[in-house]
């Protein structure tokens, strides 16, 4: 099987590869979302702790 044949997917290239692309996007989003949330929470809590220290 040639590389061209592989990407051609027997004429179903658009359907097959768009499915895999969407799957990739969704999986990546699921990994990135908690990382961003965690970072946001940490900076929030750090700000709160700095403020508390200043006040005390």
């Amino acid at each position: 099987m040639s590389l061209q044949e592989f990407f051609h997917m027997g004429g179903y290239a658009v359907y097959v590869w768009s499915s895999y692309a969407i799957a990739l996007v969704i999986l990546v989003a699921n990994v990135v979302a908690p990382i961003l949330q965690r970072r946001k929470l940490f900076s929030q809590l750090a700000r709160r702790q700095r403020r508390e220290r200043r006040e005390s």
């Binding site: 099987m1 592989f6 997917m9 027997g10 004429g11 179903y12 359907y15 097959v16 768009s18 499915s19 895999y20 969407i22 799957a23 969704i26 999986l27 989003a29 699921n30 990994v31 979302a33 908690p34 990382i35 949330q37 965690r38 929470l41 940490f42 809590l45 750090a46 702790q49």
Partner: protein, 245 residues
């Protein structure tokens, strides 16, 4: 073993042990996906009826399985949280909802993309598709309800009840292709006797199914860790963690 579960109930312990598991889960997941994709896209033969379009199956079927599996986990964890007031179960339940929703969405979208060349339509209101769409709305309902209630413990209790009620939809989805005349094809893997699928197609399908299960475990732990931090924001160990990350 009992000690292990007892310690797992402690948010701090959970946070650390989950953090140690995450890189391992990610590594095994990547290896499995690469193996599954190679087997599915290169080794598996072309289908005599559907041509190469059937290769969508290797993501469509595992994500559809995951959409059901995660829902059962979510409702089960919600029930455990309701009955034994186990905070960690509440956290797992609510962390599962967006992941389950995204797998349901993926199953619907890839099914639609597969349906277009095979059935000639992006969407038909057949029993399998409609019940899976209802599953997506159940997930979204759980997420909306949780974020709408201010007190997170009350929110967890309310969403657990919603999730448990929604479990009736799970057997409906599973048996829909048998109970009704659907355009969606019947089961080829889980039916009794030998599965009516070529082994070279079955193996990558099962590899991808295991990979997706690991992926769920990976991202549910990531989400649960953030949720634990959020709930324990006033605890001493979280304060120390923020000071020295």
């Amino acid at each position: 073993m009992l000690r292990f579960f007892h310690q797992l109930g402690s948010p701090k312990y959970f946070y650390h042990i989950a953090g140690r598991w995450i890189p391992w889960l990610a590594g095994i997941f990547i290896l499995l996906v690469l193996a599954g994709l190679y087997q599915g896209m290169v080794v598996a033969p072309t289908d005599y009826q559907q041509g190469d379009s059937y290769r969508i199956m290797f993501i469509h079927v595992p994500s559809a399985w995951m959409s059901l599996f995660i829902y059962v986990v979510m409702a089960g964890a919600g029930a455990i949280g309701l009955i034994w007031h186990m905070k960690l179960a509440e956290v797992i339940a609510i962390s599962s909802a967006p992941i389950g929703a995204s797998f349901t969405f993926l199953a619907l979208v890839t099914g639609s993309i597969w349906g277009k060349p095979m059935w000639g339509a992006w969407w038909v209101w057949d029993a399998r598709l409609t019940s899976e769409l209802i599953l997506l709305f159940l997930y979204l309902g759980v997420m909306a309800l949780y974020s709408a209630v201010e007190d997170k413990r009350t929110a967890a209790r309310a969403t657990a009840i919603l999730a448990i009620v929604g479990v009736v939809n799970i057997p409906i989805i599973h048996y829909s292709v048998e109970w009704w005349n659907t355009l969606h094809q019947g089961p080829t893997v889980t039916k009794f006797g030998a599965p009516s699928i070529d082994l070279r197609m079955l193996i990558p399908l099962l590899i991808m199914a295991v990979a997706f299960k690991l992926f769920y475990l990976l991202v549910v732990l990531m989400r649960a860790r953030v949720e634990v931090l959020q709930r324990e924001r006033n605890a001493q160990w979280v304060r120390e963690l923020v000071d020295a990350p």
